[in-house]
């Protein structure tokens, strides 16, 4: 009897310790800031995660693309970081190549990962405050604050400007990545002639609702028969008309070779509404949202 009670106690202790000590598993956030819905609109199903930035900017974004100094993977870095964070979701960011390098200009906290500019127009800048801004490279007006001076870089047309921007990013520990810009200032920026491949689509949109509140929204179109353009068109229409959202920008998240996505409830348990086909270690770059 005594032996049995010792055994039961040790089982309980082990389970409890594994539940609390596993990195990235102790997540808890204010439910009022995050809303998940699963709806049908115009014969298309949408799974949506709306994250409210205000008040207090408690919901923040963080991006990982560079291995750590000891050569640890992006996933390991994410896991170490997430130990003390209330993670809302983690998703793949931009596409990766055969060598598992994120495609397009990628800088992680000042560390250069890839300096080969891709053709896509979306350059995403993630600030240390957790905010996200996107610049349309087609406009060639990337402007950043360089020591109190607004400096313009024409990174697409001049390697000198691109190099200067990379140095600015290194000095300011900036985080940047490039991806398809699907909508900008409420207008579709992807046109016919884009990839004919069909797949399930996942987008990140940032914009304001009717009350002028800033939202970061993940939209997933689970139907696998959508081209990038068709998916973007539908998602923008859905956000404009169903969510009444004024979309500042909408970018694509990779659902191909690194279809990685993990969503948590405010209680810290995993939410299966949107789930990537692959596990987090498969991602070459990770975009995480957390509550602080």
């Amino acid at each position: 009897m005594k032996l049995l009670s010792y055994f039961s106690l040790s089982v309980i202790a082990l389970t409890a310790s594994s539940m609390t000590l596993l990195p990235g598993d102790a997540k808890r956030y204010d439910c009022a800031y995050v809303e998940t819905i699963n709806v049908s609109y115009e014969q298309e199903r949408y799974q949506v995660i709306s994250m409210k930035r205000q008040p207090g900017n408690h919901v923040k974004a963080k991006y990982f693309a560079a291995p750590d100094a000891l050569g640890g993977s992006v996933y390991n870095r994410y896991m170490r970081w997430s130990t003390n964070k209330n993670v809302i979701l983690a998703s793949s960011g931009t596409y990766m190549d055969k060598y598992r390098t994120p495609v397009g200009l990628t800088i992680d906290n000042g560390t250069l990962v890839n300096q080969n500019l891709a053709d896509w127009d979306g350059l995403v800048i993630i600030y240390a405050t957790g905010g996200i801004a996107v610049t349309n490279l087609k406009n060639d007006d990337l402007t950043v604050d360089d020591g109190g001076v607004a400096t313009k870089y024409r990174i697409r047309n001049s390697s000198y400007d691109l190099q200067s921007f990379i140095e600015w990013a290194a000095n300011n520990r900036a985080t940047v990545f490039q991806t398809h810009l699907l909508a900008y200032k409420n207008k579709l920026t992807i046109f016919s002639g884009s990839s004919p491949n069909t797949a399930e689509r996942r987008f990140l949109a940032v914009g304001k609702n009717e009350e002028g509140e800033l939202y970061h929204v993940i939209v997933q179109c689970p139907s696998s028969g959508l081209t990038l353009m068709a998916g973007a068109q539908k998602a923008l229409r859905f956000l404009n008309n169903f969510q009444n959202m004024d979309v500042t920008f909408m970018i694509n998240l990779d659902t191909g070779a690194q279809d990685v996505f993990k969503l948590y409830n405010c209680s810290g348990t995993e939410n299966p509404m949107i789930k990537g086909k692959l596990s987090l270690p498969e991602a070459a770059n990770l975009l995480a949202y957390y509550y602080e």
Partner: protein, 270 residues
Amino acid sequence: MSKKIITWKKATFGLAAILLLLVGWAASVLLQPNEENATVALAFKPHAASISLPSALRRASATAVNLPSRFPYKSYLDSTDFSDARRLALDAQALDSLFPASAHNNERLLYTALTDSLSARWMHSAQADTMAHLLSIMTWASQLPVAARFEPRRATFFRALNLYWVKQVATSLEQQYRRNPNIKYAFQFKHLNQLCRDAKCGVPVSFSASEKVINNVVEGQWGYLLTKFLRDSSLPTRLGAGLFVALFLLTWLAFFYTVRQRFTPSLLTR
């Protein structure tokens, strides 16, 4: 009884001829002309006598305002030894001493001369796309980040030059890859792309599903292939694969059984 038209002799001869043709075809595909031996004359060494940049600028009546239009691009490019990064630093210094108020513009001007103007020579020649030419450019460009370390004041200039030329090589590789996707298997392409990747400017190449399988087989990634198959394949595919493996094993078993029956001396003949 009809007369035998195909004799063993003829059949063997025919098979040998087919085999020879196949070997010839395979050799013609595999043994591409060795470009490494081709003579590539790169314009790294000056083909004109060295000019003094300050005297040339004085002769051209260049001022800080009209410098971009008066800069002697042609004679400068003809006479500069690009293989020596220190030469470039000295030229930038000479420009600064002449026009001290516009140091940033001087650097940008020299950058333009060594990129746009030089590119017109290096990237638009008949040999611009040859791998040997691109490799020479990469070798030259690789010294520029080193120069940036020794000349911290001109680090942006040297790194920007390096970035420009690495991107030129990467763009050329990408264009060649788009024209002929099979070039991704060529050693020289892979080597150059690796150099571009080391410079964080690699060209993304894609592989079809079957090519990925072959690549993993060649690289001996059996564990990955099995995991990928078990994780991503549908039930009919798994059943089909199981059937295939079963048929494969059965065929071998049948073969071994037949061989054993044919060649094992029976008890009666012993």
